[in-house]
Structures are given as C-alpha cells and as structure tokens.
Symmetry: C2
Subunit: 571 residues, 2 copies
C-alpha cells in the first residue's frame, strides 16, 4: 500500500513581505525534508501573507508574486528540498484577472497551479472585489498517490470542488487556509473538515496560518481527518508548528480527468514509484483546543504582539486608570511583549480617587512594567478656564488631555499608544473621541465588558495555578466601574447594568436583530430603545477608532459596515 | 403614433429614512402628475437611500422596505396619482437573499418588480456582499408603449440586460441610477447611455439622484438619449429637478417574452389604450455640464451641506490658520450653510506669523463668519514643560492643543468640527493625528493641494464676475504654504514641490502604478522612493481620519483598502 509522510507548516507570514515569506517557506520546507516528509503544505497565500487587500489589484505586486513563486521553486531545489513537493499559496493573475492561487513546487519547478473557486465576500472578506474564481482542479500524483487540493472557502461548500475531486478519484486532499479566529468557531472546523473528507472519500489535511494582521488573528488549529471522521492529528493554536504524519493509501478506485460538473480536472504525474516501505512514526499528538478564556487571551496576545512587531515597534504605552480595562490591556501587553516593554502612565485628575492611583501603581509593579505619574490638572485647567468649558465639554477635555499626554510621550520616546476601550463602550459610544480613544491599536476593542472581567479573573487564576503573582489587582476587578470624569461618577449612571447591556448588544450588533426580535427576547422596550439609539449615534466615533483584534462573529471595523449618515431607527 | 409624457425625478434621498423618502416620492409624483406626465422614474433605491450598506442584511430593515413600497403604492393612489406609473427603487429580499430592486407602482398596486443584475463590487461598491443578481426583466405596457427597465450598473455592460430588452422588443427603457460623482466621469455617461440606447433600439431615460451620503456625492445629470445618439434633455447637476419630456413611439417590431439568453422576460400589460393625442410641450432644455472647477466646487458644497444637515447639525467650526486649506474649507462651508453658520477660530501659537492671523480674520470678515482668537501658547506650555517635549513631539502638541480646543468648543456649543486637510497631505501623512486631523467631516480630503489652489482662484474669480467680494484673501493663495509649527518652517522643507508631488500621487494612489512605471514616467527615482514610502507609512493615520467627499477616481476611504501592517515596498 503506498505510503507518504505528510508535513503541514502552520506558519506566521507577513503581509506584503514576499522575500521574508519566501525565506520562511524555504526554512520550513527544509524542516519538513529533515523530518523525512514527502510533501509539505503551506497556508493560503503564504507567499504574500493574507489578506493583502488592494495590493491584489496592483500590477507591480501581482507580478512580483508570480516572479517570486517561480524563484522559490528553484531556491527550494537549490536548498536540497527539491524532492519534497510543496503546496504554496500565492497571488497570481492572468488575462481574466487576479487569482487567489496555490502552486505545487517540485524539483525546481512550478508543476501545478490552482485557483480558488469559492470567493468569500461577507464579514471581513472582500474576495470578489479582487479575484476571479478558478474552475480547474490539479490532481498531482506523487509516489503513486493522487493528491487533490482545495483552497479555504472551497471546503465550506457542499457539492463544490471537493465533491468533484471525490468523483474524479483522489487518495488525499490538501487544503491551504487563511481562516481567522473567532470565538467558538473551532467547534465548526472539525465536523466541517470531516464532512468534506467523507464527501471526497479521502483524508483531508487542513492547514491554517497563525498570527495577527491588523484586525484579524489566525489561530492555526491545523488538522488531519479521515473519511470515517477520525481526527488523526491536530496542531496547537496560536503557535508556529510543523505537523508531520505518516499515512497509508489504499489504491484509488478511479482516475478520471476532464470535465466534472463545472470543473476541469487535470492530472499531473510527478512520480509513480511508491516510496520504499518504511516504519511509520508513532501517531502524532492531537492537540486539545484551548478552553474558552485561554483561547481568547492568546488571540488577543497574538494580535497585539504581531501588530507591534510587524509594524516595527518595540514598546507600548497606555494610560493606567486603576480600572479593569486598562489593567487587562496592560496584562495582555506584558504577556505579548514582556513587562519591560510596557510603559504605564497614571494620569490622575482632580476627580481621580486614591484607590485608582494605588491600583494603577500596583498593577505596574506586578507586571514589571515601567510606570510614571502625570497629573493632568494643570493642562485641563488652562483649557477649561480659557474656553469656559462646563459639563460634558469639561469631562471630555480631561480625557483629551490624557490623549495628548500619551501621544506626546509616544512621539518623544517611540512607544506605540494602546487604546483601552472595550467593545461595549465602543458600541454605545461611552468614550471620548481623541481622548481615551487615541492609539495605534486597541487590543480589547472586540471584547465585551463582561468578558473583560471574565478574562481578568481567568488570567489571575492561571497565575495562581502556576504559583505566580496574579497580574491584576483584585480591587480593579471588584470595584464598580467609573470613568472618574466628575465626582462620584459611575458607569451605571449613564448605562444599563453591563450584563443586560452585553446581552442586548450581542443580539443587536452580532445578531443584527431588530427591535421586535429584541422585544420578543424579553428585553424591556425602554432599554432596547435607549441602547439601540446609543449604538446608532456612535457610528462616527467607531469610524475613527484604532484597529483591534477581532474575536467575535462580528467586530466593529471591516466586519460591520454601516453608514454614519443613517436615519434608520429600530422600533 | 403612441405618445407619452415622461417625468424623471432627480431627488435627494436620505439613507434609512423610509418614511421621509416615501413622502418625497409622493411629493414628486404629485409634481409629475401636475405636469401631466404619464409615468415618473425615481433613482436607484430611492425608497431606502443609497448606499444602505449593512442595513441590507438586517431583516427588520428589509421587511420595512418591502412593507413601505406596498404602502407607497396605496398612498400614491390615495394622493390622486394612481394613474401615473411610478418606477421606484427599493430594497427587496426573497428566499435567495436581499435584492437591489425597483418596482412599478400603478393604481394602488405594485404591478411589476425587477432585481438588479450586474452588482458592482469594486471601488466604493460592495454590492456582491449584499445582493443576489436578478435575471428577470419586467416589460410594462403603458398606454400601448412597451417600457423596459435596467438598474444602474446594468447599463454599464455590453450584451447585458439592455441587449436582452432590445431583442425582446421595447419602445422605451428607463434606468434608475445611484452613480456617485467623480471628476471627469460625466464625460463617460452620455456616450455610454447612447451606446446602450442604440443596442436596445429604444430611447433611454437615465435618472440619477443628487446629494451627499458620507463619502459619496451624487450629481444628478439625468438625461434622455435616442438610439440615434441624440441628447433630448439633460438635467442640471447637484440640484433636485423634475425632468419632463414628451415622446412619440413608433410601433414595436416584436413583443417576445420568455427566456432570452440568461434572462426571463415578462410582459405586464397595464393599458393598451393610447393617450388621447395632445400637443407636445416644447423640447425641454439640455443643461450643459458644469465646467471643471465649478463641478468640483458644487460637489464639495453638496457633500458638506448634506453631511451637516442629514446628521442634525446646524453649524460648523474650524481652525483658521490663514493658509489656503482652511480658507477654502471655510469658503465651501459658507457656500453650503451660510457664513453665519461658520464659526472660525484662529489658534495662534508663538510661531504663528502676523500675516496668518490677519489673513484668518480677513477671511472670516469676507465670509460673514463668526470669528474668535484662542491663543494656544498657555496650553502648549504646560504639556511641553511637564512632559519635557522637544522636536516633532513639541510640534505635534501644538496641533493637538488646537484639536482639543476645537473639540471643546464643539462640545460646548454643538458645532460640527471640520478637518481641513487636503488629499496630498493625507497621502504623505503631513498632518498630526488628533491634531489638525480632528473633525466629524473633512470637506477637501479628496482634493489634491494643487487643485485646492485652483479652486480658490476659481471661486474668487466667480465672485468677481458677480460683482461680489472674492471670499479668499489673495495672500492666503499666494504665500508659500507653511504648517508654522517651528520658526520659518515651509512645507517644501519636508515635501517635494506640490506640482511634482501631486503628479506622482496621482499615478501612485489613483493609478495604482508601481515603481518601474513611475520611473518610466520620468519621475526621479529618489523622489519616487521618498513619496511612496511616506504614503505607505501614513496608512494608519488615514484609517482614523474623518470621512470626506470623494471627487476623484480613487479616494482614501472605502475606495482604497490597504493593510496598515504591510511590508510591501515598491522599488
């Protein structure tokens, strides 16, 4: 029975960095070769990074991608990896238009090429803006094993390219993916891949990238499944990983080529000779998906770390208010970059409580972060007096003097400023534009307030399990949240209780439900009215908010596109 | 020979305002009825406004649109307009998905419905994110005249629905559109509509909306063309207008129905009886398209006015530096809202020249704008001393103290803040985020610096022609541009000359050309390198910039989607 040792390279690519990604592909193909693999599969558009957005329609970039994939084939051969067939995603283009493509590189040449068929154009995806769908399927014969390929969205469709491959006859399907992390999404991947494998009657190797790219974070979670639904191996989330597995292949029933449905099936024979029989390595491990909070935490840490590093920063700064949001952002930053790269600034006003300042200092101490105090009273004073500001205008000036201070320190010392707002705040506009909203990145932008608390408790508990000091002062978690912009102010003065608020927001923002639906859920009409109105009126603020890591089904940003000028009111 | 009096309602709709737009449609149908018209055509998605973006996928909104179109048919009949057949664009949905639709309303009922076939998914358009394409074509017989319909993008395609209508046999085609203004685009419309009319062998009535919606402005420019290419009438740009024209129709050759190519042609007979012969009114006027600068100016005025009014503001505030950008923005605002609604603030620092302050005051005087002086020295001083800021950090604090001041006045008095940056500045990042970049709207965001000067000269010349005082002080136009953030600073210290810079930016940003292409254009390699790097590095600033009216082929915003984290460098 033909055997193959299969490698899947779950790597962290960089958007636009053709040279760097090519180096990465050479390095990991070498690792695959060293592990004795006969083939290695990289993620979707591994050569260009994903998503490259409008770079897809810039001719100079497309041409560079096409040139680099050919050079890469030669480089792999020169590096002594020519016998390892490498499936590499890249950007192609022909007379029809740009293509989301993958090539098979073997013995110094591009021996097969295939274009993605199903182009996602929902949520954060704009692929029909860029790409034309492909209808050819290249089945490569390697050591007598027939290997078909489908790219990402192509495995989300019943009766699509996978079914065609099954009809044509394949022994194995490999699938390069760029599938962003979403809470609870991993529950879908395994049954989906299993269903597709069954549809094709062949095992399926699913390879996903890891790492952060602007609003998106990719979690890896690569896996191999048999048509019977057995999970053979699964890679850990959020880390680069070479997954290697030995597989036996019974003889293929048929080997059709030509037209099958809307697809043109082509056979590419690389080698008929089976690999000499070898003793398979023990079955590789099956990584358990991370528990809920851990998964979110690593997503946020990865998203922030990659934004910082891939944009050439080494350190971050943020305002530490003593509250839960800035504490959690600081803890994420310390986990991502090390406490020494975190520059916390306490920015007390006349309304700041003593416990706020103490909690901020204590947080910095626990994280090993740099810490300074910059009172804003003198700055605020000049604005308020000169301009005669009162009420909300006076509250906002406090937040804005903090913003100017953080940006000044950023300009002077080169730290990236982090905005500390959470999704709930952003939804209802409970933040000051150009105030607490300043920053290059907003790590918890897509984290509802109730989940912020949950993450804080989880992170502290993890530390305790490991015998470490919990990073977040208990007081920051337990005290009632306050913006401290006027004496005795509490969030609940302006907002419904967070449990209720997050429930409504989940249905309205993520679920896109209307007024009647929300009423039917049992929420009080008056609260629905108030919350929905706040959400609708805050669109202009969200439009100017920094990017942050998407972790939910629908994040603010590319994922949810609503007009600012919008007279529609639910209810 | 059958006759018809045809009305086209070039109206200004409001996104999401189903009730308000329905009122508008009743009002203009009544006008059409009063003018003796037998039919009236409204723009694309007139009932919902355009574009409604993700409201398209919210079920409550879709259902409300479907309900309102039925109610509207009844309201029109109740208003005594039941005999006027009205073509009205709206949002529909069926089991396949949401649809960009238009209905024919007649005698209290929806008598025909058609879905858009070609869905634009490039530039600012995301229609494949929302809509499923329609393949049916409803041809309505009104007083014996066979009237086909195509929606917007459907007339941009050779051999598409228009060709099918031509094959089926129609006497007239009406086309509801939502086609955003772009510099020089109107040159394309007339030949395109003429080509399509010829393809169908029937005259074509092209109806476009007017008005601003976030980044977009629609210019109207509705027109009627014969298959022989004769332009029968053309509506003026940027104003609401009822275009009425009498037409004779020779007998139709064929009246096929059923399948034609990919289309299902349906015939809907409303009335066979020709209208009693009447004496046609004299041929309506053919409006000349506006000259280049006038067209851009009206686009900017319309875009700003509608953003302000449709979002419930009555006044704007902005910093007046004495420079050309703020002068032009103030003049646009005065034209849009009246000088009395403009609140100019001079924000001098220690580096501000006397002529800057004088020019700002003179501008306000000429515009009849409100004016105050708020020196920023005291504010800047506190930040610089307390934080120990130097160099660029010190320069930026000046811009940010201006931003905080304007936002404070906005919060206190309810004015909308305008950002005064131009496209050139935004492209190369020559602005301070949270400083001069603050604002709810940025009127000249898509205007290159060289065009800013050109518009200023044009606006002054127009005033002189009318015997009015030119709004913009000559000194603001003629002096060398400076940010005045340090002594003796000039823009040309940091940037190439604006003529050269705008030429390169036009090729790089709008033309999406790569390094080699630019070199082949004859630009110096060193300047290309520098400019492209500045553009690439400023993406993060643009992402947080306020929206502004698109006037070029490719505006920053929805039109140009590039990653912030992007390692690709041309060259």
């Amino acid at each position: 029975m033909p055997q193959l040792r299969i490698a899947a390279a779950q790597v962290n690519t960089r958007v636009g960095d053709l040279a760097g990604n090519a180096d990465l592909i050479v390095e990991w193909t070498r690792k695959a070769a060293e592990s004795g693999a006969h083939l290695v599969v990289f993620p979707e558009m591994a050569l260009t990074g994903y998503p490259v957005e409008d770079l897809s329609i810039r001719e100079s970039f497309t041409q560079a991608s096409q040139r680099t994939i050919r050079e890469l084939a030669e480089r792999l051969a020169d590096a002594g990896c020519g016998e390892v067939a490498a499936w590499v995603g890249y950007l192609d283009a022909d007379e029809v238009g740009p293509r989301n493509a993958a090539a098979v590189l073997y013995r110094g040449e591009v021996v097969a090429t295939q274009f993605k068929h199903h182009l996602p154009n929902y949520g954060v995806f704009d692929e029909r803006r860029y790409y034309k769908p492909g209808t050819s399927l290249d089945i490569v014969r390697l050591h007598g094993v027939e290997i078909g390929m489908v790219i990402c969205e192509d495995i989300w469709q019943d009766g699509g390219p996978v079914a065609a491959l099954g009809q044509a006859g394949v022994d194995l399907i490999v699938s390069p993916n760029a599938s962003p992390y979403e809470r609870n999404k991993d529950d879908q991947r395994l049954p989906l891949v299993a269903r597709r494998s069954k549809e094709a009657g062949a095992p399926l190797v699913y390879v996903n990238l890891i790492g952060g790219q602007d609003e998106l974070v990719f979690d890896g979670d690569s896996l191999v499944v048999t048509p019977e639904g057995a999970l053979l191996t699964r890679a850990p989330q959020f880390v680069e990983h070479l997954m290697v597995i030995d597989m036996d292949f019974p003889a293929t029933a048929g080997r059709t080529e030509g037209t099958i449905g809307e697809f043109e099936v082509r056979r590419v024979a690389l080698s008929d000779e089976p690999v000499p029989a070898y003793r398979p390595a023990p079955a590789p491990p099956v990584a358990e998906p991370l528990p809920e909070e851990a998964e979110v935490w690593f997503a946020l840490v990865t998203g922030l770390r990659d934004y910082v590093h891939k944009n050439g920063f080494r350190s971050i700064t943020l305002g530490l208010s003593g509250g839960i949001d800035s504490a959690v952002v600081a803890a994420i930053a310390a986990d991502a970059l090390g406490g020494g790269s975190v520059y916390g600034v306490s920015l007390p006003s006349n309304y700041s409580s003593d416990h706020s300042k103490d909690d901020a200092a204590e947080l910095a101490r626990r994280l090993g972060a740099n810490y300074q105090v910059q009172p804003i009273a003198d700055m605020v004073d000049v604005f308020v007096k000169q301009l005669g500001l009162t009420g909300l205008a006076e509250e906002n000036v406090q937040a804005r003097c903090r913003g100017v201070t953080l940006m000044g320190l950023s300009n002077q010392f080169g730290h990236l400023v982090l905005a500390t707002g959470n999704k709930t705040e952003l939804a209802v506009g409970y933040s000051t534009i150009y105030g607490d909203a300043v920053g290059g990145f907003a790590p918890i932008k897509d984290v509802p307030k109730t989940l912020v608390w949950q993450l804080a408790r989880w992170r502290n508990a993890e530390a305790e399990k490991r015998g470490e000091i919990p990073p977040i002062p208990e007081n920051s978690i337990s005290k009632p949240p306050s913006a401290e912009l006027r004496p005795g102010q509490l969030d609940t003065d302006s907002l419904p209780p967070y449990e209720l608020l997050d429930d409504i927001l989940d249905d309205y923002v993520e679920g896109d439900r209307g007024y009647d639906d929300l009423l039917a859920q049992g929420f009080p009409g008056e609260v629905i009215d108030r919350v929905l109105r706040m959400v609708d009126m805050a669109e202009y603020k969200r439009r100017q908010y920094p990017p942050g890591t998407k972790i939910t089904l629908k994040a603010f940003g590319r994922d949810r596109r609503l007009p600012i000028t919008n007279a529609w009111r639910e209810g």
